[in-house]
């Protein structure tokens, strides 16, 4: 699978001028709101016609302004999961799911229907009307509806943005299964570092309509916040881990990363599954002695590798904990009080709750 996208488009005074490629898997289009992510996805879907540009999927030219090629939306077979579920209000869940199957031809078998319904956990909703579903249920049905149209490519425009934290935690595991169990390449739009870290293989960072950085998710997300065009508030570090165990009683997932065990809220994944975590620097505390009688579950021992220059009264301290780099943002006052400097051993403290999505 190879997707190539190239687009230049003016909307009022805003200009999109972006190009990126994907070799399959999940490609995240990442950037703050107003960076042109949704417009770019609409251009890929064909809902928006770019002034100039090219879209090629596996050598099949979908659109090419130079040659006057423009396949209409309904012939592209690109599934699209929107921010709002956009289920058809006059059809039951079952008929919503079957809608695209009919246009895709009879290639989809009944077992495919059952498999996708099972994967998304929507079997008990089939005879309901969309208006009676919760936000999370609607979004799962919308994902199923897009998948059952047997798309060649799946576009997802912030499918979690309209949901509250609990609903996000409910849907993320389904999206991870989708990524791991289907071979459909996905373009995933998000402005949340945590979501991108958890789901994507590759990231394309958009800023003001232009590609600012692109590449492997761990490589791109460990760059400083300024490069990522994200809020300094969101700066942090990416940890690659494997699920070691589940604490069913307390609804916690234990993730091993290097020699550390990190406890994450909710039963998000099965043991053995890979899980990427994003730990925001502002959620990490540092202590020079091992704290006792503390509610935070993750206390990781490590050594300070370096400190950033002071910015707005705070510094970012990078700590090597058992092979993982964790970034902690602390005030300069704390740094002086604790005498923090490179080489000093410290304990990084992360509340489990802070790792919620």
């Amino acid at each position: 699978m190879r997707l190539e996208v190239e687009a230049r488009h003016r909307i009022g005074s805003f200009t999109i001028d972006a190009a990126f490629g994907s070799e399959g898997g999940v490609t995240a289009l990442f950037g703050r709101s107003g960076s042109g992510k949704t417009s770019l996805v609409n251009i890929i879907a064909g809902l928006l016609r770019a002034d100039t540009g090219r879209i090629v999927l596996d050598g099949d030219v979908i659109a090419d302004s130079a040659r006057g090629v423009f396949a209409p939306v309904h012939r592209r077979r690109f599934g699209y999961v929107f921010q709002e579920a956009r289920l058809f209000p006059h059809l039951s869940v079952r008929r919503n799911l079957a809608y695209g199957r009919w246009f895709a031809g009879a290639s989809e078998s009944a077992s495919e229907f059952g498999r996708i319904v099972e994967m998304l956990g929507i079997g008990h909703l089939l005879d309901r009307r969309p208006s009676t579903l919760s936000g999370g249920e609607r979004q799962r049905v919308a994902v199923g509806r897009a998948l059952l149209a047997s798309p060649r490519l799946l576009l997802m425009d912030e499918p979690l943005a309209a949901l509250d934290e609990a609903r996000k935690a409910e849907i993320l595991p389904y999206l991870e299964r989708l990524r791991d169990e289907t071979r459909i390449p996905i373009v995933y739009v998000s402005h949340s570092v945590a979501e991108v870290a958890r789901l994507a293989d590759r990231v394309v960072v958009l800023d003001d309509g232009r590609v600012k950085a692109a590449g492997d998710v761990s490589a791109v997300l460990s760059q400083p916040a300024a490069t990522l065009a994200i809020d300094r508030r969101e700066a942090g570090a990416l940890i690659d881990g494997t699920v070691e165990d589940q604490d069913k009683l307390h609804e916690l997932t234990l993730v091993r990363a290097g020699s550390c065990i990190i406890r994450v809220p909710h039963l998000v994944a099965q043991p053995g599954q890979n899980l990427r975590l994003y730990i925001a620097a502002r959620d990490v505390m540092l202590a020079t002695r091992r704290p006792e009688a503390i509610s935070a579950l993750n206390v990781l021992e490590g050594t300070i590798s370096d400190l950033s220059p002071m910015q707005q009264g705070s510094v970012d301290v990078r700590v090597n904990c058992g092979g993982n780099i964790i970034v902690a943002r602390i005030t300069t006052l704390s740094r002086e009080a604790l005498g923090l400097e490179a080489g000093k051993s410290v304990h990084a403290i992360i509340k489990t709750i802070a790792l919620d999505y």
Partner: protein
């Protein structure tokens, strides 16, 4: 309360005229409503004005214009009579035409409003699922505006049941051919001792109109509920 034969004839004629007027104006009203709701073309406001004319003009004027255009010697009337054998003047078909024209703005307004409340995002979603524009209209837009269409049809029917001025100007008041309920009531009031007949037809007229309006309200509410995007 029992009706005389002449009164029954008037009731039956009114129902037939109203039904034909409603059904024959539906396809045109649907196309015009789509054009006004979705189209961007030169002369859109002129079309909108033309459609609403019968609502504002005195019905007598509308009837007289119809007589000029669709009468035996009118440009359209002569053409239709010669090529299709379709005669309007002093026939019940003329009454149906007058009623269709008078009810047309009501039907267009109702359908247009329901099209404007359809969330276009749903149509885009259908397109990404592989539906061509024609299929999107049939499987998404049409089901969502159906209550609006039905409400428009009922309004047009009710208007036709009550039409008087344009009809009597265009096709006169011929018992058994163009004498609808309204015309019959008018005739009753013009003769001594006609009050009882006028009263009977008045009650029937009130019942039919009231039922149509209430049904229209129910359907309009259903339309509003169904077109809310989920």
């Amino acid at each position: 309360m029992s009706l005389s034969d002449a009164e029954w004839t008037a009731v039956r004629l009114s129902l037939r005229v109203a039904t034909v007027a409603m059904l024959s104006s539906l396809p045109v009203a649907l196309l015009v409503a789509i054009a006004l709701a979705r189209g961007r073309f030169w002369g859109k406001s002129a079309l909108n004005g033309l459609v609403h004319m019968p609502l504002i003009l005195p019905p007598v004027v509308t009837g007289f214009v119809l007589l000029l255009l669709f009468g035996r010697r009118g440009p359209i009337g002569a053409f239709l009579a010669e090529h299709l054998g379709l005669v309007f003047s002093f026939r019940w078909t003329g009454a149906a035409l007058a009623c269709a024209v008078m009810g047309f703005p009501l039907m267009v307004r109702s359908i247009r409003l329901s099209i404007e409340t359809v969330d276009r995002k749903l149509e885009h979603a259908a397109a990404t699922l592989g539906a061509s524009p024609g299929w999107v209209f049939l499987t998404v837009t049409l089901p969502l505006i159906l209550p609006g269409i039905v409400a428009g049809m009922i309004l047009s029917f009710a208007k036709a049941m009550g039409e008087f001025g344009a009809t009597i100007t265009f096709v006169s008041n011929i018992p058994g051919e163009t004498q609808t309920i309204s015309a019959a009531i008018y005739t009753f009031t013009q003769v001594p001792g006609g009050d009882a007949g006028a009263m009977r037809l008045t009650i029937i007229s009130i019942i039919v109109s009231m039922a149509a309006l209430m049904l229209s309200e129910v359907l309009a509410a259903a339309a509003a509920r169904r077109t809310v995007a989920a």
